[in-house]
Each structure stands twice: as C-alpha cells, then as structure tokens.
Amino acid sequence: MKHPMRNPWIYTLFTVPTLLLYGMFFLWPMLSSAYYAFTDWNGLENYRYVGWSNFAAAFGDPDFRRAIVNNLIFIGFSIFVQIPLIVLFALLIASVRRLRGFYKTTVFVPSIVSTSVIGILWGFIYEPEVGPLNRLLALFGAGPVYWLAEPKWALPAVLIANAWQWMGFYIVLVLAAILAIPRELHEAAVVDGANGWQRELNITVPLIMPLISVVVMLSIAGGMRVVDIVLVMTKGGPVGATEVMASYMVNEAMGINPNYGFGTAIALIIFAFALLLTSLYQLTFGRRTEGGYF
C-alpha cells in the first residue's frame, strides 16, 4: 500500500501556490532587477544596454552621495545613541518588579503603529505654528523653529521620530534576553560583593552581548531600509537634507520622468551596501560576541 504521507498530488497542491507567489514576487524581481539595472529602460518599448553607466551616474550624483551619508547617519544614530539607551531602559525594566508588565506593554506600542501615521503625527508635533514642541519653546520665549523646513533641523527631527517608533521594540527584545539569564548568576555576584551597577555591567551586559549584536545587525538593516518616514515627513527635503537611498530611488524611478533602469541600479546598490555592512560587522565586532544564542 502506498504511504499516505507520500502523495505527489497533495504535495504539489500544498507547495506550488507558495512557490509560485514566492518566485513571482521575490526571485523574479531580484533577477529582473539585475537585468534592468544595466539598461536605460523608462517604461517605453525601446531600451538599450548601458553597462555600468547607471551605477556611475548614481555615485557621480552629489544628491545620491548625500543620501548614502544620511543612511549611515541613521545607522550611526541607532548604534551609538539608541542602543545604549535601549540597554539602559531594558536593564531598568528588568530591575523593577512592580509595573514591569506595564512598562513592557507600553514602550512596545509605537512599533505596531503604521510608519506613515507616525510621520503624520510627528509632523504635527513639529508644526511651526500650532505644534506642541514650538508651543513649549514659546513658553520660554524661544522659537518658532521650522523643524522640518530648515536643513539643519530636518534630519535630527526625522531621526527622533524614527527612534521614538522603534526603541520600544528593541527594549522588549533586550529585556527578554536579560530575563532569560539564570538567577543564580546574580546571586553569586551578590555573594561576591558586587553592587547593583557593577553587577549589571560586568555580568548582565556581557551575557546579553549576542542579542545586542543581533540588535546592531537589525539596526544596520533598518538603517538601509528606512524610507516611509522620510517620504511622509519631508519627501527627502528640504534640499535633500533628509534624502536616503531608498527615497532617492523612489523619487528618481517613480517621478514624472520614470527611469526604471536607474532605479533598479539604486536598488542593487542598497542591497550591496546592506550585505557589505552586515558582513563587515560580522567579521569585526560580531565575531567576538558569537555565542549561538539563538
């Protein structure tokens, strides 16, 4: 008798729809991007092979180089400003017993809200005339500051809105790792006479390093991916002050004069950067912290 777990028809029925959708929306776009990136296709019938000129044009454009720097600023801000705060807040939440559930539940909230809504919401907070931030400054006789219209303020303003959205998510992630540490380690440290913060720095932080390493990787990926909040809050302006690679790509490819060949070249550059940065991190700092945590 044939084994019921070997039925090619059922197997096909169960896997082919998934493979078809996946192939269409992941594999095919990847392959077609690699093809279009070397053409000057703009949506019309005729296009030609242009070699590496899309890539050369991108790196030759000061606006794009500015966008690369802004992506790096997003990543740097996550790693050097957000992550220390994330670890601090996670340690604080882990240190209290009362209200722990409340803190965890509340700080996570912004990460389930749509980025576009968060962009609108923070746009209102930064609004020069009626926005609460400037109303607050006015109490001290300062302002009004045109947060999103002045090139020097726009990027910090977007960075803060972005940090506000994602910090809670990572706090919960780090908190879970801290709470997974066996209690005995802490008790041993108490016996050894370590005080509160010595204990956290010398015992807890090294133990959660593998997870912090994951958070760094996710921050790099997130910093390369960032686009929604920029499009909603500033569209990359004023004068390119908040442009990131993905918003540059969207603005170039989907504008009035679409240029899909150029756009897909940018997409591949973003992909290459993401791979490069994550492998660089893995080869330098990441390796030291590898511990097979997950």
Partner: protein, 274 residues
C-alpha cells in the same frame, strides 16, 4: 535604599510619558474645535468637546472607505498567507519527500534576507505587466507573497515539534495526508497560526510604500496612504487630521490590548530569526 527604588521608576515613567504623550495629544486635539484652540492650549483637555469631527472625517474625508479597504486587504492577505505557509510547512516537514522539502525550505528562506524596498521597482513592473496595477490585486499579491518566508519559517519550526505518532494514528484512521492536515495538524498549529496571522495582518495594515505607488484611485486607497492624502488635503485643519490618526491607530491598539502576547512574540521572534 528608598532612592534606589524610586530612581528606576522615575526614569521609566518619564520614558513612558514620552511614548504616550503624542497619542494623548492627538486624542485631545481630535476633539477640539479649531487650530486656534489647539495652539492656545496644546497640552490641555478640550474646553468644548467636538465629537462631530469623527463623523465629518469618516464621511467627508472618506476615512470610512480607506478603513474598509485596509480591513479587508489586511484580513484576506494575512489569512491566505497563513494558510499557504501552513500547507507548505506541512508538506516540507511532515510529508515524506525530505530532499525536495529541504530544497523548498532553503529557497523560501532566502526571502528573509532581501530588504523589502530593494524589490520595490521590479515588483512595480511585475504588477504593471500582470495588468493589475491600480487594482487591489496589486497589493494583495505582494502582501501575501511577502508574508510567506516568515510564515513558512515559524510554522515549519512548530510542525517539527508535533509528535511523530500523528502519522501513525492518521494511517490507522484511514486519513489521507490532506485529511491529516485539515483535521489534526491545522487545529494543533492554531496558536502559531494566530501569531503568523497577526504579524501578517499588522504588516499589511501598516504598509505604505507599495500602497502609495501601486494604487492611485482614491476609492481603492488603504489607511496609511489615504491618511497622507488626507493630511495634504486638510493641511489647515489639525483637529480633523488627528481624527484620522485616531481612526487608523485605534483598531491596532484594540487588537494589541487583547493579543499583546502574540503580537510581541510574533514580531520579535520574526525579527531575530530573520
């Protein structure tokens, strides 16, 4: 000793206040009469209450239309992706084709490493060539497809943990593999299926980039893009814009109130595995 117990709470409550303030501010503003009132007292509760803003936004600004588009697109794509992932996970983990199963698993997992916006233009060209640009298919298909890698990953891990005696029992009862899937495995997988569904649902509910460029008909817009259009149209009426924000945030918060454990687990596990 007292100081040691108070300081962490003081710092954390300050942070919680920073997290919650924008939401409270938007809620109060949505019930205020005008920009003048918001500007005069941005932090206070409304002096006169204007719940009619909610009716006005729902009807005049078509929030109702965006809302239903978001609900049914998120629901159908999340459900389809969850069921397809479950069927595929079942086939590659429980059915006896180990070599091809491993191959499918590895192929689908590659998807977890490709950042979404890298595929954006190629996906745009694809839906254009399929002739579905400016229809809800243009979002349903990529949303469903986009949710598959994580769904297969999580459900495959779950199905691996189900006891091997299942198959024996099924064979004794004369069930086919499809019957085993539908009658036994699917009900057992329900907790993981719920997690996968929620993560898919939130992803589709919040998605902006594709929704903005693949749909240009106003009647087909979803909340994230509809809201941005709404903001640009009513730039001067902040009370009404805040009403729109409340409409798009409230359902998610409600879902979160009941399913926070699944939501947190689904989102965090997904990110770490990816």
């Amino acid at each position: 000793m007292l100081l040691k117990r108070v300081v962490p709470h003081a710092v954390l409550l300050a942070y919680v206040a920073a997290v919650l303030f924008p939401f409270v501010f938007v809620l109060f503003s949505s019930l205020k009469g005008s920009n003048v009132e918001i500007a005069a007292d941005p932090f206070g509760i409304p002096k006169t209450w204007h719940p009619e803003n909610y009716l006005e936004a729902w009807v005049k600004a078509k929030i109702g239309v965006y809302f239903f588009n978001s609900v049914y697109l998120s629901f159908t794509s999340a459900l389809t992706a969850a069921l397809l992932s479950a069927a595929t996970a079942f086939a590659i983990i429980r059915m006896r084709y180990p070599r091809i199963g491993r191959w499918i698993y590895q192929t689908v997992l590659i998807g977890m490493f490709i950042p979404g916006n890298v595929l954006f233009i190629a996906q745009y060209l694809l839906v254009m060539n399929l002739g579905v640009l400016n229809t809800h298919w243009a979002l349903f298909l990529p949303y469903t497809a986009g949710a598959l890698p994580l769904g297969v990953l999580l459900l495959a891990a779950f199905m691996k943990s189900l006891p091997g005696e299942l198959e024996e029992a099924a064979i004794m009862d004369g069930l086919s593999s499809a019957g085993l899937f539908a009658k036994i495995v699917l009900p057992l997988t329900l907790p993981a299926l719920v997690t996968v569904f929620i993560v898919n649902f939130l992803g589709a509910w919040n998605e902006y980039l594709l929704a903005n460029f693949f749909i240009s008909k106003d009647a087909l817009r979803t909340l994230p893009t509809g809201m941005v259009g709404f903001r640009d149209a009513f730039r001067t009426n902040y009370a009404l814009i805040c009403t729109g924000i409340v409409y798009s945030v409230a359902p998610v918060l409600l879902l979160y109130a009941f399913l926070q454990k699944q939501i947190i687990e689904g989102m965090t596990v997904g990110s770490v595995k990816g």
